[in-house]
C-alpha cells in the first residue's frame, strides 16, 4: 500500500439557494476516491457553510493515485426526498506525487455542475503521503514529471533527451451507451467527465512507465488529445518527449553539478537517468546521410501515400469491460509496453519539442507531413486498442520515411491530430525533418559528469540549422541552392519551412509576421468508403494549394522562411476546410526572395496585358510596403560582420527573378512541371484572378501590432510584462446552399481576417503589442457551419528601448528573486555588473552557470560595445524599480487592510472563518490569487522558479435553457470563463500564480436552438508554475504581481 491520501473539507461560500422556502441551503460534502466515500456533517441553513471536517484518509495504491481524481460532491440535504447535488470538484492529485512539484493542494475551488455551471466555491485541503515501494513490477510511474512546454523547462537542464513517447487508451463513450437513454443529462455528462479523467490519468501513468523504462525522469512537450469517435468510442491519446532533466535552480542542486552520478540516485525522480546510456535514440542517431533521397515536402509526393483503410475484423475478443482496461493482466500489459517501447523508440526518432538547447539542432530539412483517411468502426475491445495504434504507426512510418528522404534522421516539432466527421477520420502528423547533434545526445548518456561544458560551447553559427542536410546532387525536391549568406561555406535552400520555433540563435532580418493560407473545398455528401475515397482524393490538392498560398504570401512579404507551420485539414459532411498558419521571417542566411511575377497565358491581348500590369503594380506596391512594415532591409545584415551577404550581380540575376524583371524572362520558365514554389503566378482563368485578389486582401496588422504563431516574435526582444491571454470562438452559418469553392474561400478568409481585426481592436489599449502563439483551430461542427477557435496571448513590448533585451536578460543573472531586488538594490547591481566574469549565485541560490552561458549566447544580438551603456541603463532602471516598488508595497498593504475589514463587515460569519480564509492563502486581502495564463513557455519579465505539475482538465457543459443564457454566444462565453476560472483555481490551490504552455485542445459545441439546448466540451492543459518578477520595468506593472511574488516566495520558503 504505497500511499495515503488525505483530504479535509474546510468551508463553502456563495452556495446557491437550494431551499426556496428559507432561501438557504443545508449543505454537506461527499469525498470520494476510488470506491471509498466519506461524508461531512450537514451544515444547516447557510450559504457559507463551515464544515471544518476531520482529515478523510484514503489508503490506496499509487497506481490508483495516478489514475483516479479525487471527487468532491457538494449536496443539499433533504429530509424527505433525495438529496440534491449542487455540484462537483474533481481534483487531480498527480502534482502531489512528484516530490519536486506541489506538496499540498489548498484553496477555493469552483463547485461545478454540468448543467448550471459554477455554483459557489469550496475550500479543500489535500495531502499525499507516499511510501517507498520497491516492487519493480510496479504499474505506477509516480515521480515522472510532465510538462506541456515544448522546450526544456526553464530552470532545468536536459541531461539526455531520450525520444518519442506515445500511448493511447480507448473506451466506449458513455454518451453512446444504452444506459444513456434512461439517465439524466447530468448523470451522462458526469460519467463522461469521470471516464475521461480516469483515462487521461491512466494514459499519463502509462506514458510515465515508458519514460522510466527509457531511463528518463520527465516528459516534455506532452500533448494529450481526445478523439470523440461517437458510436465507435472514445480515444485518448498522447505524445511527448522523454527526457532526463536536472534541476538547476534550487540550492541543493549544487550537488548535481559536482556529482551528477550520485545526486540523482538520492532522488527517486532522477535515479533512472543512470541507465540513460541505453537510450535507443543514441543508436537511431547514427543512421544518417546514406539514405536514398526523394521528395517529402512537396504535396505531390504525399498524394501517393493517402490510403484508405477499411477496418476489418481485427477487433476480436470480448465486449468492453467498462473501466479503461485496468482489468487486463498487469503482466501482459507490462510485456506489451516493454516490447513496444523498446521497439518504437528505435523506430521513431521523433521529438515533440519545438525549441532546443543550443547546439542540439544541427540542420533542418523541411516540413514532413502525412495524412491518412480512415473509416471508424466500433472499438470492440478497449483493452486492445491495436487498430488505432496500427493507424498511427503507419503514419509515423510515413513521416519517418519522408524525413529520411530529406536526408534527416530525426523529426522535431512533431505533432499529431485528427479530424472526425461521422465515421470518417483524417489522421494527420507533421513535423520538421532535422539532423540533431548525436554527440550531444550520446555524451549526455555516457558521461554525465563532464557534460556541463557542452553548454558552454560557443553558440552554433547563427545559420547552421539552415544548411541543407540532404545531398546537393540528389535533391528531394526542386529548390535553388546557394551558398549560405552568412558563412558562405555551406549550401542553403531558397526557402525553408519548419514546424518548430525560430532557434534563439538564428540571425533574422527585420520582424516576422503571421502568414495564413485558407482554403475550402466542397465535396459531395457520401457514405462509408466512397466518402473516404472522395476525401482522400481531395487532400493532395488541398495540401498543394495551401502550400502555394503560403509560398505566395511569403514572397509578398519578402520573407524566406516559415516557422511554426501548422496545417490543419478539417472534414465536414459537404466540405473540407484547410488552414495553414505559420510565422514568416527573413532569415539572414537565406537568399532574398524574388518578387512575385504575374504572367498571362495569352500574351498579345492588350486589355489583358493592361490588366496584368495593374495587378503587377499592386503586388509590387504591396511587397514594398511590407518590406517597410516588417523592416526587412537585408543590407543591414552586414553589421553582423560575416562577410558580404550580397552575391555578385551575375549570380543574383540568375537566381532570383526580382519584380523589376521583364516578362520575357519569365516566359522561359517551364511551369508545367517542377516549380511548385510559385514565384510566377499565371493568370489563365478566373480562379487565378481570385487567388491573386485574395493574396492582396490579407490585411497587415494595424500600427503598433504584430502577430505570429510561434512562441515569440522574431525581431522583438524587449518584452514588457503586460500580457493578456484570450480565447475567441466564432461560428458562421452558411445559409446559401449553392456556394462555389471561391465563394466559400472568400467567406472563410473573411472569417479569419475579421477575427484578427477583432483582436487588434479589442487589445488596442495594449499597443505596442504582439499577438503571440496565435493558434487557430477550424472545425465543421455541422453541415453549413464553420467554426474557428483561437487561443493566443497579447504581450506588450517596449518600442524604443532596443537594448532592453540585454538588460532584461542580464537582470536574472543577479540570481535573486523579487524580495531581494527590492531590499538589496545596490548589491544586485554590483552583482550583475560583474556577471560576465563570474556568474555568482546569490543567497537565494541560482547557480545557473550553465544556463546563463547558454542565454548569453543567445543574447549576442547587440554589439559588445553596447554593453557599457546597458549597464548604466540597468542601474538607472533598477533605481527606478526600487522606488516604484516601495510605493506599490505600501499601496498594497492599504488595500489589504481595506479588504480585510470589508470582509469582516460584509459576512456575518464566525471569526474563525475569516481567519482561516486569510491563512489559507498567503496572498493579500482578497482570497483570490491572480493567476496569469499564457500559451507560451514563459511569462515576460518573470522567472519561473517552480513547476507545480501539469494541468489537464476536461469539462462538459450542457444547457436546456439556451435562450435564457443568452443564446449560444452567452452559453459559450460563460463556459469559457468558467473553464478559465477552474484552471486558475487549481493552479492557485497548488500554490502557483501562472499557467504556461496553456492550450485548449478541444472545444466541441453542439447546439439545438429549436429544443433550446446546447452542449459543449472543452479540454485544456498547461503547466502550473510559480514565477517571480525579474524586474519592474513597465508602467503596466500591477501591484498584484508584486503580491504574487511575495506570496509565492513565502510559499516556497514555508
Amino acid at each position: 500500500m504505497p500511499g495515503k491520501l488525505k483530504a479535509k473539507i474546510v468551508a463553502g461560500r456563495h452556495l446557491p439557494v437550494m431551499d426556496r422556502a428559507s432561501d438557504l441551503t443545508d449543505a454537506f460534502v461527499e469525498v470520494k476516491f476510488g470506491n471509498t466515500t466519506f461524508k461531512t456533517d450537514v451544515y444547516p441553513k447557510s450559504l457559507n457553510p463551515q464544515w471544518n471536517s476531520e482529515w478523510f484518509k484514503f489508503e490506496v495504491d499509487d497506481e490508483d493515485l495516478q489514475d483516479e481524481p479525487l471527487q468532491i460532491t457538494v449536496l443539499d440535504h433533504d429530509t424527505y426526498s433525495a438529496n440534491d447535488a449542487i455540484g462537483k470538484v474533481y481534483i487531480d492529485i498527480d502534482p502531489l506525487l512528484c516530490t519536486e512539484a506541489a506538496s499540498i493542494i489548498s484553496g477555493w475551488f469552483p463547485i461545478y455542475d454540468t448543467i448550471h455551471g459554477i455554483r459557489g466555491e469550496i475550500n479543500v485541503l489535500v495531502k499525499v503521503e507516499l511510501f517507498n515501494d520497491l516492487n519493480r513490477f510496479r504499474q505506477s510511474s509516480c515521480g515522472v514529471k510532465f510538462f506541456c512546454t515544448t522546450s526544456i523547462p526553464r530552470g532545468y537542464r536536459a541531461a539526455t533527451v531520450h525520444g518519442f513517447l506515445e500511448e493511447l487508451v480507448v473506451n466506449e463513450d458513455p454518451e453512446y451507451q444504452w444506459i444513456d437513454r434512461i439517465r439524466t443529462p447530468r448523470a451522462s455528462n458526469e460519467a463522461r467527465q469521470r471516464l475521461i479523467s480516469l483515462m487521461s490519468g491512466e494514459l499519463q501513468r502509462k506514458i510515465g512507465l515508458k519514460v522510466l523504462e527509457m531511463g528518463g525522469n520527465a516528459v516534455v512537450g506532452y500533448l494529450q488529445c481526445f478523439d470523440l469517435e461517437g458510436e465507435s468510442g472514445l480515444v485518448v491519446r498522447a505524445i511527448g518527449t522523454a527526457c532526463s532533466l536536472e534541476k538547476l535552480s534550487s540550492g541543493s542542486i549544487l550537488n548535481t553539478h559536482t556529482h551528477p552520478n550520485t545526486a540523482p540516485a538520492s532522488n527517486a525522480c532522477n535515479s533512472p537517468s543512470k541507465d540513460g546510456k541505453e537510450s535507443p535514440l543514441a543508436h537511431g542517431c547514427r543512421s544518417t546521410h546514406n539514405s536514398p533521397v526523394h521528395s517529402a515536402c512537396s504535396a505531390q509526393r504525399l498524394s501517393q501515400n493517402f490510403s484508405i483503410s477499411v477496418p476489418t475484423l481485427i477487433f476480436t475478443g470480448m465486449g468492453s469491460g467498462g473501466s479503461a482496461g485496468k482489468e487486463a493482466g498487469p503482466l501482459k500489459t507490462l510485456l506489451r509496453q516493454q516490447t513496444q517501447t523498446a521497439l518504437e523508440q528505435r523506430e521513431f526518432p521523433f521529438f515533440t519539442l519545438t525549441s532546443f538547447p543550443p547546439a542540439f539542432l544541427l540542420h533542418v530539412g523541411g516540413v514532413v507531413n502525412a495524412r491518412s483517411v480512415k473509416l471508424l468502426d466500433r472499438i470492440h475491445n478497449p483493452d486492445e486498442p491495436e487498430t488505432r495504434d496500427a493507424w498511427w504507426e503507419e503514419i509515423r512510418q510515413e513521416i519517418k520515411s519522408h524525413a529520411k528522404a530529406l536526408g534527416c534522421h530525426a523529426v522535431v516539432g512533431y505533432s499529431e491530430s485528427t479530424s472526425i466527421c461521422e465515421e470518417v477520420c483524417i489522421l494527420s502528423a507533421s513535423g520538421t525533418a532535422a539532423i540533431l547533434n548525436p554527440r550531444y545526445m550520446r555524451e549526455g548518456c555516457l558521461d554525465i559528469g563532464s557534460t556541463d561544458h557542452r553548454f558552454e560551447e560557443p553558440s552554433p553559427p547563427t545559420c547552421g540549422f539552415c544548411h541543407i542536410p540532404y545531398d546537393e546532387l540528389n535533391m528531394p525536391f526542386p529548390a535553388q541552392l546557394t551558398y549560405c549568406y552568412h558563412c558562405r561555406r555551406q549550401k542553403v535552400p531558397d526557402v525553408l519551412f519548419t514546424t518548430i520555433d525560430l532557434p534563439a540563435e538564428a540571425a533574422v532580418t527585420g520582424k516576422g509576421c503571421l502568414i495564413q493560407a485558407r482554403l475550402c473545398r466542397l465535396k459531395k455528401k457520401a457514405q462509408g468508403e466512397v466518402n473516404a475515397t472522395a476525401i482522400s482524393n481531395l487532400l493532395p490538392f488541398m495540401e498543394y494549394e495551401l502550400h502555394t498560398q503560403l509560398m505566395n504570401k511569403l514572397k509578398l512579404r519578402s520573407m524566406n522562411a516559415l516557422f511554426g507551420l501548422r496545417i490543419q485539414i478539417s472534414v465536414g459532411e459537404n466540405m473540407l476546410l484547410g488552414l495553414a498558419s505559420a510565422t514568416g521571417v527573413y532569415l539572414t542566411a537565406l537568399p532574398a526572395p524574388g518578387g512575385i511575377q504575374i504572367a498571362g497565358k495569352t500574351p498579345g491581348d492588350p486589355s489583358n496585358e493592361q490588366h496584368l500590369l495593374t495587378i503587377q503594380k499592386r503586388i509590387n506596391e504591396a511587397t514594398a510596403k511590407n518590406k517597410e512594415l516588417y523592416q526587412i532591409n537585408p543590407p543591414e545584415l552586414t553589421e553582423e560582420g560575416v562577410g558580404s551577404p550580397i552575391p555578385e550581380p551575375r549570380q543574383r540575376s540568375r537566381l532570383f527573378r526580382s519584380h523589376s524583371e521583364s516578362s520575357d524572362e519569365i516566359s522561359e520558365l517551364d511551369l508545367s512541371h517542377g516549380k511548385k514554389d510559385a514565384f510566377v503566378l499565371e493568370i489563365d482563368d478566373t480562379d487565378a484572378v481570385e487567388d491573386i485578389h485574395s493574396l492582396l486582401t490579407d490585411a497587415n496588422p494595424p500600427r503598433g501590432f504584430y502577430s505570429c504563431n510561434t512562441e515569440t516574435m522574431p525581431g522583438i526582444y524587449n518584452w514588457t510584462s503586460g500580457i493578456q491571454m484570450f480565447t475567441s470562438v466564432r461560428i458562421l452559418r452558411l445559409n446559401n446552399t449553392n456556394l462555389t469553392n471561391q465563394g466559400l474561400n472568400k467567406i472563410f478568409t473573411d472569417l479569419c481576417e475579421n477575427l484578427l481585426k477583432s483582436f487588434y481592436f479589442k487589445l488596442r489599449s495594449m499597443i505596442p503589442c504582439c499577438l503571440c502563439h496565435l493558434n487557430f483551430t477550424v472545425a465543421v461542427p455541422e453541415e453549413e457551419l464553420i467554426q474557428v477557435a483561437v487561443t493566443a496571448v497579447a504581450m506588450t513590448f517596449d518600442k524604443d528601448q532596443t537594448q532592453e533585451k540585454l538588460a532584461e536578460k542580464l537582470i536574472p543573472k543577479g540570481g535573486s528573486d523579487t524580495d531581494e531586488q527590492l531590499q538589496f538594490p545596490m548589491e544586485l547591481c554590483a552583482d550583475s555588473s560583474t556577471i560576465n566574469s563570474q556568474p555568482s549565485s546569490k543567497i537565494s541560490g541560482v547557480p545557473e552557470s550553465t544556463n546563463i552561458s547558454s542565454r548569453a549566447a543567445s543574447v549576442d544580438y547587440g554589439s559588445f560595445a553596447d554593453r557599457c551603456s546597458t549597464w548604466l541603463e540597468l542601474l538607472r532602471l533598477k533605481a527606478h524599480t526600487i522606488r516604484r516598488g516601495s510605493v506599490k508595497t505600501s499601496r498594497r498593504t492599504q488595500s489589504l487592510a481595506h479588504s480585510v475589514s470589508s470582509l469582516e463587515h460584509s459576512s456575518p460569519l464566525p471569526d474563525g472563518r475569516s481567519r482561516s480564509l486569510r491563512s489559507s492563502r498567503s496572498f493579500g486581502g482578497s482570497t483570490v490569487t491572480v493567476v496569469k495564463m499564457t500559451p507560451l513557455s514563459f511569462l515576460p519579465g518573470t522567472r519561473i522558479i517552480k513547476y507545480l505539475g501539469i494541468i489537464n482538465m476536461f469539462f462538459i457543459r450542457e444547457t436546456t435553457s439556451l435562450r435564457e443564457e443568452g443564446g449560444v454566444s452567452g452559453f459559450l462565453h460563460s463556459f469559457i470563463a468558467e473553464v478559465f476560472a477552474m484552471v486558475r483555481a487549481h493552479v492557485a490551490a497548488l500554490g502557483g500564480n501562472a499557467v504556461v504552455s496553456y492550450s485548449m485542445q478541444d472545444c466541441v459545441l453542439m447546439e439545438n436552438p429549436n429544443k433550446n439546448q446546447a452542449q459543449c466540451l472543452i479540454n485544456v492543459s498547461g503547466d502550473a508554475v510559480i514565477c517571480v518578477r525579474e524586474s519592474d520595468q513597465d508602467s503596466l506593472a500591477s501591484t498584484t504581481t508584486i503580491g504574487h511574488s511575495c506570496s509565492s516566495t513565502t510559499d516556497v520558503t514555508t
Partner: protein
C-alpha cells in the same frame, strides 16, 4: 451567411469603460454601436462596423454576467469567474452605483416601493434617463436601503463596507436612505430649485447631529444600535419643544431680538429688513423645531424651512453673506440669555438649521 456565435474571453476580463458607461446608461447594443462610431472609434486600429458590433456585444454580455456580482460588491473581490484587477473592480462598482442627479431628485424622499417603481417610465420620460438606467438606479437605491436597514452601526460606514463605495458615494447613498426612511418631501414646486447635492449635504448634517447615533459613542456602550443613523433621536425631538419658550416668552423674544440687532447694526444693508422680520423669522424656526415630534411635520421639514425662512429672506433680497451673519448672531445671542436653560438643545438644533439654510439659500 450569418454569425452564429461570436465570443471573446480574456483571462483578465477586458472591459472598455466607454462601453460600460453606455451599458449603464441603458443603450441597446445597436445604439451603443452608433454612439461609438460617432465617437470615432472606427479610426482606431482600422476597425470596421462588424468589429465594433462584435466587440460591443461581447462587452455587453460580460457586463450582464457581472451584474449579478455587482449586486453585492464584496462578492466581486472573492469570486473566481472573472479575473478583474482591484482597480478595475473599484471602477466597475463605483460606476454601477453612480446615479443621475436628475433621476435621484425625482425619487428622493419617496418610498422605495413597487408603486414608485411603476412610475419609473414617467420619470424616465421626464428626465430623459433611459428606463433601463432608471430601473438600475432605483434597484440600487432599494438594495442599499434593504441591506443597511437591518444593520447596526454607522450608516455611511455600513454602506461603504457592504457596497465598497467611495466615501463620497457612500455619503450620497446614506442621504438617499435617510430621505427614503424619513420620507422627506422634496418634490414640491417650491423645492424644485434645490439640487440633490443640496439635500445630500443637509442629510449629512441631520445624520451627524440629530440621529440617535449622533450623540456619540459615549452614550452607547456597544455603539451598535439598529437604525442609529437612520432615525431621528426621539428624545431630542421631544426636547426641541422646550425651545418654544424663545417665542412664547415675550421678554425673551425681545431680549433676543435686541441682542441680535445690536450685533448686526451697521454691518449689513439688509439690517432694516432683518429687524422688521426678526420675530416672524424666529417664530418660523422655533415652530419648525417644536413640531418635529410629528412624523408628518418631519416630512415637511425642508418645505417648512423654505416657506418660513428662506422665502421671506429672499423676498427681502438678503445676500448669502447677510444670511450667514444673521444666523450666526441669531444662534449665538441665545447663549447670552440667562433665563434660557436649553442651550445644548438649541445648539444642536441651530447647528443643523444653519448649515441647511446656508446650503439651501441660493437661486
Amino acid at each position: 451567411m450569418s454569425v452564429e456565435l461570436d465570443v471573446f474571453v480574456g483571462n483578465t476580463t477586458i472591459m472598455d469603460e466607454e462601453v460600460y458607461q453606455l451599458w449603464l446608461d441603458g443603450y441597446t447594443v445597436i445604439d451603443a454601436v452608433k454612439v461609438r462610431r460617432e465617437g470615432g472609434v472606427l479610426d482606431e486600429c482600422e476597425a470596421n462596423a462588424d468589429v465594433v458590433l462584435s466587440d460591443t456585444m461581447d462587452q455587453y454580455r460580460t457586463f450582464q454576467m457581472c451584474e449579478r456580482l455587482l449586486h453585492s460588491p464584496p462578492k466581486l473581490a472573492n469570486q473566481l469567474l472573472f479575473q478583474i484587477t482591484p482597480h478595475r473592480q473599484t471602477i466597475l462598482i463605483e460606476r454601477y452605483y453612480a446615479f443621475d442627479d436628475a433621476f435621484v431628485r425625482e425619487v428622493l424622499g419617496k418610498k422605495l416601493s413597487k408603486g414608485t417603481k411603476k412610475d419609473l417610465d414617467d420619470i424616465s420620460a421626464k428626465t430623459t434617463v433611459t428606463l433601463k438606467s432608471c430601473r438600475r438606479q432605483f434597484d440600487n437605491f432599494k438594495r442599499v436601503f434593504k441591506v443597511v436597514e437591518e444593520l447596526k452601526g454607522p450608516l455611511v460606514e455600513n454602506i461603504r463596507h457592504h457596497f465598497l463605495l467611495s466615501d463620497k458615494l457612500a455619503k450620497d447613498y446614506a442621504a438617499i436612505v435617510f430621505f427614503a426612511n424619513n420620507r422627506f418631501e422634496t418634490g414640491k414646486r417650491k423645492l424644485q430649485y434645490l439640487t440633490f447635492q443640496d439635500f445630500a449635504i443637509c442629510a449629512g448634517q441631520l445624520i451627524n447631529n440629530w440621529t440617535v447615533g449622533a450623540v456619540g459613542p459615549d452614550s452607547f456602550v456597544d455603539n451598535m444600535v439598529e437604525d442609529m443613523d437612520v432615525d431621528l433621536d426621539k428624545e431630542f425631538l421631544q426636547e426641541l419643544k422646550e425651545l418654544k419658550i424663545l417665542i412664547t416668552d415675550k421678554d425673551l423674544l425681545d431680549q433676543h431680538k435686541s441682542l441680535v440687532c445690536t450685533a448686526l447694526r451697521g454691518k449689513t444693508k439688509a439690517f432694516n429688513e432683518m429687524e422688521a422680520n426678526f420675530k416672524n423669522l424666529s417664530r418660523g424656526l422655533v415652530n419648525i423645531a417644536a413640531k418635529l415630534t410629528n412624523t408628518k411635520d418631519v416630512r415637511d421639514f425642508f418645505i417648512d424651512l423654505v416657506e418660513k425662512f428662506i422665502e421671506p429672506c429672499r423676498s427681502d433680497r438678503w445676500t448669502a453673506a447677510d444670511m450667514k451673519l444673521y444666523l450666526t448672531h441669531y444662534t449665538n445671542s441665545v447663549h447670552i440669555l440667562d433665563t434660557f436653560k436649553h442651550q445644548v438643545v438649541w445648539d444642536r438644533y441651530m447647528g443643523v438649521i444653519k448649515s441647511c439654510i446656508f446650503k439651501m439659500y441660493h437661486d
